[in-house]
Symmetry: C2
Subunit: 120 residues, 2 copies
Amino acid sequence: MTEAAKIAERYIDLWNETDAQSRKKLIASAWTEDATYVDPMMKGQGHSEIDALIGAVHQRFPGFSFVLAGAVEGHNDRVRFSWTLGAPDAGPIAHGTDFGFVAADGRLKSVTGFLDQPKA
Amino acid sequence: MTEAAKIAERYIDLWNETDAQSRKKLIASAWTEDATYVDPMMKGQGHSEIDALIGAVHQRFPGFSFVLAGAVEGHNDRVRFSWTLGAPDAGPIAHGTDFGFVAADGRLKSVTGFLDQPKA
């Protein structure tokens, strides 16, 4: 697995973590302290704000989880990967692509999310 | 046209500009002085370096031009758009997606390019 793929897997795993304590640890290991996240619906900076916005998604979509879709790509200090959000017994309700900057220590320092139109 | 769409159109136009003087002007109006560009093949910072790497693409693919593909998306200070590179009498030889950060004055301060697999 490439470094970019590991970063993306770790990122999706922490978005799916419902245990509050475990998620805090995963966030600390995957994001720099001053990391920023922004997508069309929400934004946050730092571990606490990022944790809060992930928690809000769990509250809004209980039982749903994120799954990586397609190849993870990385070059220089940049990564890009796509995902779907869905429930086990239904098709995905959302598709997106996240684009990140990786710090020297391998943690994410900036992620920008975009929503995608599902492929026909 | 949205602000994001205008930024993307201006960006594609300057990539296609073959006249050296015109391209310098377009670059100065569309990129901040310390702007950075990086993709899997090349990178540059500042107007001169960005101009040089665009010039290198023209030298490598004379007569080819970039065309926007699909919708331009923007939120917060971020834009995303896809493009193809092709010649008038042939199909595209490359597909890509660029992610940008927009400065307060509307100019690009950072662009990251990724190559895409053409849709089947």
